[in-house]
């Protein structure tokens, strides 16, 4: 531009007062969780691991559907692949269990690449159905592999769970810290991604794919990156789940309700397209499950009713409602201009 316009003095801020407070809260929570086995014994560890992996699955799905516009209902493919890869690496190749969890994530990401070549040809609802079909194909294939127990599945040999830790209590501690690492790691990964330059691209795609392309954002490559990273994390989570469950079968490992529908519930209720949403959604999901644990089928009915009411009253979820009213962000991914 000729005659450079007068630029006022300015400063770009990332953090807000709410986000600084949230950081303190986050650190306190992490310290409390890390020290939990010391002061709370071992009774709650399993529940916290479950919350961690559901939260991590929700963050991954949110990245896919909430940002990249990839509404997948086939993420159970990568939970199942991760779980089976854990069994294959430990039983068939003799890899120690914890490194096998990481390798299982890599295996899921590797298989996600050819999957992407197929499902990325589809758009919208067709993409959603395509991902589900691919997950069913993986389920069918896993059921054919004799070394992994065919359709009836198999148990992890005692020697391998012993390789995690000798005692049952020791195993729970190791699994607890692995679960924490995956949960916190996923949240931090999503946070730093969204905060970065690439996060700007991803947020732009969320808001308008057309306009994102017109300002030079490579939509397809960004989406592929999201899909592969989500598969990596989901595969690791799947491996962790089945390291804890000790028994795997195709029907359980590729279950669309457990590994995708519940996760979608968490994200949609909490607030799609924000990093805070899945936290709130996980709170609601586990809160409802705890309160309604004794009511059998009523639990599913109330879960569904909650989803319908929130979708009607707050299409951007509970976090959308709060963020609109109070203009807050707990994870400082935005940029604010302060003129001086």
């Amino acid at each position: 531009m000729t005659a450079a316009a007068q630029i006022p003095a300015y400063r770009i801020e990332r953090s807000t007062r709410a986000s600084r407070l949230a950081l303190v809260g986050f650190v306190v929570a992490v310290v409390a969780l890390l020290s939990l086995p010391l002061w709370d014994g071992e009774d709650d560890l399993g529940s916290i691991v479950e919350i961690c992996y559901m939260l991590a699955l929700a963050q991954c799905w949110n990245l896919l559907a909430g940002y990249a516009g990839l509404v997948s209902v086939g993420q159970q493919a990568f939970v199942g692949i991760g779980g089976y890869a854990l069994f294959a690496f430990t039983i068939l190749l003799g890899v120690p269990p914890i490194p096998a969890v990481v390798l299982a994530g890599i295996a899921a990401a590797v298989l996600a690449f050819p999957t992407a070549l197929i499902v990325f040809r589809l758009r919208g609802a067709y993409f959603a159905i395509g991902t589900w079909v691919v997950a069913e194909v993986f389920r069918g294939v896993m059921g054919q592999i004799r070394a992994l127990g065919t359709g009836t599945g198999m148990s992890l040999p005692v020697a391998i769970s012993r390789a995690v830790a000798e005692s049952r209590a020791g195993r729970e501690i190791v699994l607890y810290y692995t679960g924490l690492a995956i949960g916190i790691g996923t949240v931090l990964m999503v946070f730093f991604w969204l905060r970065s330059r690439q996060g700007l691209a991803l947020t732009a795609i969320r808001d308008s794919e057309t306009a994102a392309g017109s300002v030079g954002v490579n939509n397809e490559r960004t989406k592929l990156a999201v899909y592969l990273i989500a598969a990596l994390a989901t595969g690791m989570i799947g491996a962790l789940i089945y390291l804890e469950k000790l028994r795997i079968s195709p029907d359980a490992a590729f279950d669309v309700i457990d590994w995708t529908a519940d996760v979608i519930f968490i994200v949609v209720i909490g607030g799609i397209g924000s990093i805070e949403g899945p936290f709130l959604g996980a709170l609601v999901f586990f809160g409802l499950r705890y309160l309604l644990a004794d009511y059998g089928a009523w639990y599913m009915i109330l879960l569904g009713a909650t989803a319908v009411v929130i979708m009607l009253r707050a299409p951007r979820g509970l976090w959308g409602l709060l963020a609109d009213r109070f203009d807050i962000q707990l994870f400082p991914v935005h940029r604010r201009v302060r003129l001086r």
């Binding site: 450079a4 700007l200 808001d207 490579n218 201009v337």
Partner: protein, 241 residues
């Protein structure tokens, strides 16, 4: 001078409807070209073909001496084609500043912190400084149009495609817009401007190109084109005697 943009026998149909029909067009480097035509003539489709939002059915598009016919939109943007949308497409939940930043960071291919000064400068230019932290979705239509301009300029285009950005402005706002576009042009950016506000167009462009039914109707000096009988008839709805 060599053309910065050249369309060779470009065609595009939506179903049975030929929207662009064997159209050829060249824009010289440093030129400002105005595009006129009645509603539905294919003007916006023409832009979408140039930017890669749509693919041509036939023909070739050359930009800056390079065949870009097969390139996706983001690659054409990075080569230097910037555009505004007639119906604004803001990144609604991102702040106004972040909208412009996305253009500067990806279109101009720079690190984020290197773009801040330019983004603030563009917010000043388009009078959006006070709205910098607001979600772009909360802007009024006219503000959204200014944001379209700021975001397109942030991509550091060699060729800027403007799609009806003057509609709905008051006289003084329109005058300010004309001066802004003139300044952009004077800085060496080639411009193609679709606009119904003819006096604004003529204040900036040196040549007019009139489209009707996806074909060239007339081309040349703005006043001569506006006074030509076929343009009078088709565009102004006046019967030529």
């Amino acid at each position: 001078m060599a053309p910065i943009l050249r369309l060779e026998h470009v065609a595009k149909s939506f179903g049975a409807l030929k929207v662009i029909d064997d159209l050829s067009l060249a824009v010289e480097a440093g030129e400002a070209l105005g595009i006129l035509g009645p509603n539905g003539a294919g003007k916006t489709t023409l832009f979408n073909l140039v930017t890669g939002d749509l693919r041509v059915d036939a023909g070739a598009i050359e930009f800056d001496g390079r065949d870009v016919t097969a390139l996706p939109a983001h690659a054409r943007c990075r080569l230097g084609i910037g555009r505004t949308y007639q119906i604004p497409h803001p990144f609604g939940a991102m702040s106004v500043f972040e909208n412009v930043l996305a253009g500067a960071a990806f279109g101009a291919g720079r690190r984020e912190a290197e773009c801040y000064d330019r983004c603030i400068e563009l917010l000043v230019l388009t009078d959006l400084t006070r709205k910098a932290n607001q979600p772009a979705g909360s802007l009024t239509l006219l503000e959204r149009k200014r944001l379209e301009l700021a975001r397109a300029l942030a991509t550091a285009p060699k060729l800027l495609l403007l799609d009806e950005i003057a509609g709905g402005l008051t006289d003084s706002e329109c005058q300010a817009l004309i001066e802004t576009v003139q300044a952009v042009h004077a800085s060496g950016v080639s411009i193609v401007w679709i606009e119904h506000i003819v006096h604004a167009l003529i204040a900036v462009v040196g040549r007019l190109f009139v489209i009707n039914f996806g074909q060239k109707l007339a081309e040349g000096d703005p006043r001569a084109v506006m006074n030509s009988p076929q343009v009078q008839e088709v565009y102004m709805g006046i019967e030529a005697e």
